[in-house]
């Protein structure tokens, strides 16, 4: 118990940018460059400037059974880290020890061959990701059932729909049973129903006592699957610890750029929209008019949307979708359908009461709906709602409460009298 599964010490990977820019793709270039460098002194002097560290001195230890998420912006080194740990890429320096059999799912469907049938690909792909033939045979039925492709087993996969293809690919991968598993973004496959199934399967894997390293941009998945998170930024570990606080900080930081309470356009020709409707502005403000004060969980606020209606006599109304930092829709709300309006500028205001939303950064998406049934424009607003938790209600706990909303609800506790059952029960306890 508590044995180390992965130990990484100063793992580093350097790429030379010139490798991409001016790769020695042909022998002639290589010879020409070789000759040139013969006559140049300090051949290595240029190396430093063109070096790019995809990973720099990354060290960590992961215990058996831990489910660890790796988060970070694109290019932070997440995938490079998984590639180094799965022996695809060799580190420039540093080392890692891995205790146990490793299975890596860096991309589902690796090695699928379009000409082979579903049945044949299950065996081929299984062998490629590291399953023994016996193991595949034993799991075969489970794989087929999970992928829901029974009827098409003997059809070449090139005839599969893309949904069937990824389902089969994920099914094979999900039935690999190594001690340590590296997973990179495999959850982004299939339709909503299958994604749910994948997430469920990943949850089983995570709870099954296996060590999992999980790279994802899906913070909801990371939050619900991982106990611990490594946050990578430009090749180094910024934070390493329990999931929820780090994920929240990460989300807040990555949304920082759009942390502004309003956006507006003066020029109708460049404003977002189409030939029916154009945006003039979206604004978030406190209802009490104290504009410089921050929004807290208790503050009632309003969202104002100003639009130009460009076509006379159009019936438009505005719907708001409010997203939490984790990407969950906190609520949707729509204005009442208006009667047909003349062309011109309009303002719709949505009043949101205090004591409703949880703390954190919320994104606003505005939908413009025509004739109450068709969405004619979807606007991802640059204005956001940053709700602070300044007057914490519960004094015993200072963390962020889980949940999309934090409403203040009415509670009542009543005394129902001294029942006979209670007396006999407590007496019974005394005798024992």
């Amino acid at each position: 118990m508590g044995d180390i599964a992965i130990r990484a010490g100063n793992l580093s990977k350097r790429y030379n940018i010139t490798m991409g820019k001016r790769r020695h793709d042909t022998l002639r270039d290589q010879i020409a460059d070789g000759l040139k460098s013969l006559f140049r002194r300090n051949r290595r002097s240029s190396l430093g400037e063109n070096a790019f560290w995809a990973l720099k001195d990354v060290s960590f230890e992961i215990k058996e059974g831990e489910v660890v998420g790796i988060i970070g912006q694109n290019g932070a080194g997440k995938s490079t880290l998984l590639k180094v740990l799965s022996q695809i890429v060799v580190p420039t320096y540093g080392q890692a020890q891995i205790y146990g059999r490793v299975g890596s799912l860096l991309e589902v469907g690796t090695g699928f061959h379009p000409e082979l049938t579903g049945r044949e690909n299950i065996f081929l792909n299984g062998a490629i990701i590291g399953m023994k033939k016996e193991e595949i045979r034993r799991q075969f039925d489970a794989i087929v059932e999970f992928a829901e492709v029974e009827k098409f087993l003997d059809v070449p996969v090139k005839r599969y729909s893309s949904g069937m293809y990824v389902r089969l690919a994920f099914a094979v991968a999900a039935h690999l049973q190594p001690e340590i598993m590296f997973v990179d973004e495999v959850l982004a496959v299939g339709d909503a129903a299958f994604q749910k199934k994948c997430l469920g399967k990943m949850g089983d894997v995570a709870k099954g006592g296996r060590t999992v390293l999980f790279v994802s941009h899906n913070m909801t998945a990371v939050n619900s699957l991982c106990d611990r998170v490594l946050w990578l930024d430009r090749g180094t570990i910024v934070e390493d610890g329990p999931t929820t606080p780090i994920v929240t900080r990460y989300m807040e930081k990555s949304l920082k750029g759009m942390d502004s309470s309003e956006e507006s356009w003066d020029d109708i020709t460049t404003a977002p929209g189409n030939d029916i409707v154009r945006f003039h502005g979206v604004r978030v403000r406190r209802q009490d008019g104290r504009l410089s004060d921050p929004l807290t969980m208790q503050t009632p606020f309003q969202v104002e949307i100003e639009c130009w209606n460009l076509v006379d006599n159009t019936q438009l109304h505005v719907t708001l979708h409010l997203y939490t930092a984790e990407g969950i829709i906190a609520f949707t709300t729509g204005g009442l359908p208006e009667r047909p309006m003349p062309a011109g500028l309009f303002r719709s205001v949505c009043y949101v009461p205090g004591d409703l939303l949880n703390s954190g950064l919320h994104r606003i998406v505005v939908l413009i709906v025509k004739n109450t049934n068709s969405v004619i424009y979807r606007h991802e607003s640059g204005a956001s709602i940053n709700i602070l938790d300044l007057n914490h209600r519960d004094f015993a706990y200072f963390g962020r409460e889980p949940g999309v909303v934090q409403p203040v609800l009415n509670w009542k506790t009543e005394y129902l009298g001294e029942g006979l059952e209670v007396n006999t029960f407590t007496r019974k306890l005394q005798f024992e």
Binding site: D3, I4, L11, Y15, M19, R23, H24, D25, T26, L27, Q30, K83, V84, L85, S86, Q87, I88, V89, V90, P91, T92, Y93, G94, Q95, A96, Q97, I98, Y99, G100, R101, V102, S104, L106, E107, T110, G111, H113, E115, L116, E120, F123, L124, A127, I128, I129, G130, K132, K133, P156
Partner: protein, 282 residues
């Protein structure tokens, strides 16, 4: 106390570090992954004639048509001697290993590049890729062997005990294809020029090998030099094993074998050395 000891004494399943050693070949992992090798060969065989009208018949047609053309041009027009063997049989026995070799070399040269999706996504010993590519065309060779049986019956040539040595020369042919394939597949990752060189090389190489003419036409003093080409040894070996005429000179066969072993050894070292950068460069 015991716990601490057991942790310290545990050996990692995998140790990842920057490898500098020239001779850390780690051939044992190839053996551990033999099942995958089987699947890769099986895949190559399975997909080879998918969605073709006549399927496996291609494996027979290619050497057969080449044999007919050779018989017409070299046998009938140019009147090239064939060591007293009917020319069609003479040519076909050479075309067996030669067709295999050219297939295996073409496929293994492109094997790593063609499997770049595997190389950049999943770990397994990279040696398996050219290995599978050079083993898979053996299946074609077996089909052509059936044609040879028909040919031998047609010309009333009975097989000799030399037949038993055929697996030996088959191994010789595979080693030659693999040895060159290791070099070319690894070089191909960095220099795509290899893709252009190989078809040309194969063409030239055929004329440098005793496919359309007998090795006995080569003057005695050049014989050793000639057999530096390992395919000369392979083809002469095939002719001897299948037709039983003219046992090959051990001396010159040893030359061919030595060249193959040198190529194979250096090929493995070069491949293992460059495979670390495959995923970065490909």
């Amino acid at each position: 106390m015991n716990v601490v000891e057991s942790i310290e004494s545990r050996k990692p399943t995998v140790l990842i570090e920057s490898r500098k050693g020239l001779f850390r070949l780690d051939l044992r992992s190839v053996w551990q992954y033999r099942e995958l090798l089987y699947f890769l060969v099986w895949r190559d065989v399975m997909i080879r004639y998918k969605q073709t009208a006549i399927g496996v018949a291609w494996a027979i047609l290619q050497p057969l048509i080449t044999m007919i053309i050779f018989t017409l041009i070299f046998g009938n027009l140019a009147k090239i001697p064939s060591d007293g063997i009917p020319y069609p049989v003479f040519a076909f026995t050479a075309l067996l290993p030669w067709t295999y070799f050219s297939q295996a070399l073409t496929r293994s040269s492109n094997s790593v590049v063609n499997n770049s999706n595997l190389v950049t996504k999943i770990y397994f010993p990279r040696l398996l890729i050219p290995l599978a590519a050079s083993v898979a065309p053996i299946v074609d060779l077996f089909f052509s062997l059936l044609v040879l049986v028909v040919l031998l019956a047609w010309f009333h040539i009975s097989p000799s005990w030399g037949m038993l040595a055929l697996p030996l020369f088959l191994g010789f042919a595979i080693s030659t294809a693999l040895a060159v394939g290791l070099w070319s597949s690894a070089l191909n990752v960095r220099y795509r020029d290899v893709g252009y060189i190989i078809p040309f090389l194969i063409q030239v190489w055929m004329y440098a090998s005793p496919v359309a003419y007998p090795a006995s036409m080569i003057p005695e003093k050049w014989r050793v030099l000639y057999f530096l080409n390992p395919m000369a040894g392979v083809i002469e070996g095939f002719r001897w094993a299948l037709l039983g005429k003219q046992r090959p000179d051990f001396m010159v066969m040893a030359v061919s074998l030595a060249v193959v072993l040198a190529l194979l050894g250096s090929g493995i070292v070069y491949f293992k050395r460059t495979e670390q950068t495959f995923a970065d460069v490909i």
